[in-house]
């Protein structure tokens, strides 16, 4: 008979982190280190800079449709964000009309709760707008967006919307009118040129138009919490976003022209729109002039993520990075303005067994650290 021994298998720390991240983490914490070898409360250095590929940042004439851009680097991760925009017709006035709302079934059954007498503009959320972002984490292959990407995109949208950083008003389009002056040269009359404002008021379309912002965020070689980097990239890009001025041609303003066009429109291709009150305008972008997108400077913020290890020696790890640290389930994610205002706080805890619960002190500590971090980093934006 031969003796059979169970040989102990040895793993390199990096392999063990893959197989048993919790064990690795525990061993590191026990000797007072964290797997990424940073201090417990130390964040990764982040470099935020404009990418310089938007149409207004390039020298000379450029025809690309990117209106703002940024690059964020942290460790091996690069995040590139580009902002583009579209134009929509505001339906605000239409939907505020009680009769139209009734026709369009917008008025819901629980109207007593919504209280039809109160105007929509009174509501705080109606004053704010957001940016529709698409996050792409490169994985070396194509495919439908992963749940991580969807989560990031939606979280960015919701955080920006509810923080009130972008107001609806700042996205309104002040339409100009292209006409000819007394010498026959084409000029564009703008609403804020006070002399000609009468002409504009007479000819300008009765409808309002506004910009919608889109952001495309690309992430290369992902490490650590992505929301922080994506949020920084998005805000940096929004801050250098410039919106083109828009105008319509003089002939388009004539109501008869648009009525004619409406009559010509076939029922099939009218797409269900009502022909009678249809007014169509060809909005044109001014190739040269533009204005800055207004962002509420007081609401600039920075996002910080913390992981919380459990056990009796529970510690807060800033910016968890690497297999062992990213596997921590419990965490706090704070978007803070650097002073006392927070714009988002997401806490993921555990059930209260075996000292796993998140304590109030840990929440306070995380908020304090994130405030300090924000105060430092907002200057970079």
């Amino acid at each position: 008979m031969t003796d059979t021994h169970l040989r102990s298998i040895k793993f390199a720390p990096s392999k063990l982190a893959l197989i048993a991240p919790d064990v690795t983490l525990k061993r590191y914490i026990e000797i007072g280190l964290r797997p990424s070898l940073r201090k417990f409360h130390e964040f990764r250095p982040v470099i935020v800079s404009p990418a310089g590929f938007s149409r207004y940042e390039k020298e000379g004439k450029s025809s690309n449709a990117i209106l703002g851009s940024s690059v964020v680097k942290s460790g091996s991760t690069d995040v590139i964000c580009s902002i583009s925009a579209g134009v929509v017709e505001d339906s605000q006035e239409l939907t505020n009309d009680y009769r139209l709302r009734l026709d369009k079934d917008i008025i819901e059954a629980d109207e007593d709760e919504n209280n039809s007498s109160s105007k929509d503009e009174d509501h705080r959320v109606n004053q704010y707008s957001s940016v529709y972002s698409v996050v792409e984490v490169s994985r070396g292959r194509n495919g439908p967006p992963t749940s991580e990407e969807i989560e990031l995109s939606q979280a960015l949208y919701e955080t920006i919307l509810h923080s009130g950083m972008i107001t609806k008003e700042s996205l309104n389009i002040k339409l100009g009118l292209k006409s000819r002056d007394s010498e026959g040269k084409p000029v564009i009359i703008r609403r804020y040129d006070s002399d000609d404002s009468d002409i504009l008021n007479e000819f300008a379309p009765k409808k309002n138009f506004s910009y919608v912002l889109y952001a495309k965020i690309q992430v290369y070689s992902k490490t650590g919490p992505l929301f922080d980097l994506c949020y920084a990239a998005l805000i940096k890009a929004l801050r250098n976003t410039k919106l083109p001025e828009m105008y319509i041609n003089e002939k388009e303003t004539d109501a008869k022209v648009s009525a004619l066009r409406a009559r010509k429109t076939n029922k099939n291709d009218s797409n269900g729109r009502n022909g009678s009150d249809l007014q169509e305008f060809d909005l044109l972008c001014d190739p040269v002039s533009f204005h800055d997108l207004k962002i509420d400077e007081g609401k600039l913020s920075w996002s910080s993520t913390f992981g919380i290890t459990h056990g009796s020696d529970s510690v807060l790890l800033a910016d968890p990075e690497g297999e062992a640290e990213e596997n921590i389930f419990e965490g706090i994610e704070v978007v803070s303005s650097g002073n006392d205002t927070l714009f988002s706080a997401v806490i993921t805890g555990n059930i209260g067994e075996d000292d796993h619960a998140i304590s109030k002190d840990q929440i306070k500590e995380a908020i304090l650290l994130s405030k300090r971090r924000s105060a430092n980093m907002i200057k970079e934006l």
């Binding site: 629980d110 709760e113 209280n115 705080r124 969807i150 939606q154 509810h162 927070l342 805890g349 619960a357």
Partner: protein
């Protein structure tokens, strides 16, 4: 204010319930533990949660996907996942009335979490803890309003949802919280305290509802 619920109304699944509060209504079903339906989802040490959330109108979008990830965060720690290794638990959520504008998801998530909890109990899925969710807003005057109406929500400065575990009839540990809008640190801590109290106030009714259902389900001689 209170809630209405009906437990075990669907007979083709293991557990089901409706949950209604402040014009938000949702119906959920739980089936499991099942054989894994797609091999790639199999997890060797724990259960796979297949969650889908369907909105009251329109088709699911990123908004619902985001709700799924939030719900998964709650369920991952509350369901006894180790007990159902290599198995699948299907959770279906259908919203009947959102009770809030599409910019918000707090009320829906609150109803979903509570309804899924009752469905899991009804389906006999092993849980590591009881849990309950509630939501609130802070209005322009800094007042905290629990379980707001849609109008209060739309006028609010910040909105919050919190899920707590329940131990010995008291809310115990914070499982998940999500706050959006602008608020201060003190406000956040106050909100968590208020949510704790609010969940405590629900406890006796939840117990009664569950007890009634158990009495109906089994023969006690």
């Amino acid at each position: 204010m209170s809630f209405q619920t009906e437990i075990g109304l669907l007979d083709q699944v293991d557990g089901s319930s409706t949950f209604e509060f402040a014009t938000t209504k949702v119906i959920t079903s739980v089936a499991g533990p099942l054989e894994i339906t797609r091999m790639k989802n199999e997890k060797p040490t724990e259960a796979f949660l297949d969650i889908s959330i369907k909105p009251a109108t329109d088709v699911s979008s990123t908004r619902e996907s985001f709700l799924v990830t939030k719900l998964a965060k709650v369920l991952q720690k509350t369901i006894d996942m180790d007990k159902y290794a290599r198995r699948e638990i299907q959770i279906m959520v259908q919203l009947l009335s959102p009770g809030e504008s599409e910019e918000y998801t707090v009320k829906e998530l609150t109803a979903i979490v509570n309804s899924v909890y009752l469905s899991l109990l009804n389906g006999g899925i092993s849980l590591r803890t009881s849990f309950w969710a509630t939501c609130c807003v802070i209005d322009g005057n800094g007042e905290i309003l629990m379980r707001p109406t849609n109008k209060q929500l739309r006028q609010s400065v910040s909105h919050h949802i919190a899920v707590f575990s329940i131990k010995d009839g008291k809310s115990d540990a914070l499982i998940f919280s999500d706050s959006k809008g602008s608020f201060s640190e003190n406000e956040l801590l106050k909100v968590l305290d208020r949510c704790c109290d609010d969940i405590d106030s629900f406890n006796s009714k939840v117990k009664k509802v569950v007890l009634d259902r158990v009495k109906r389900d089994y023969i006690w001689s």
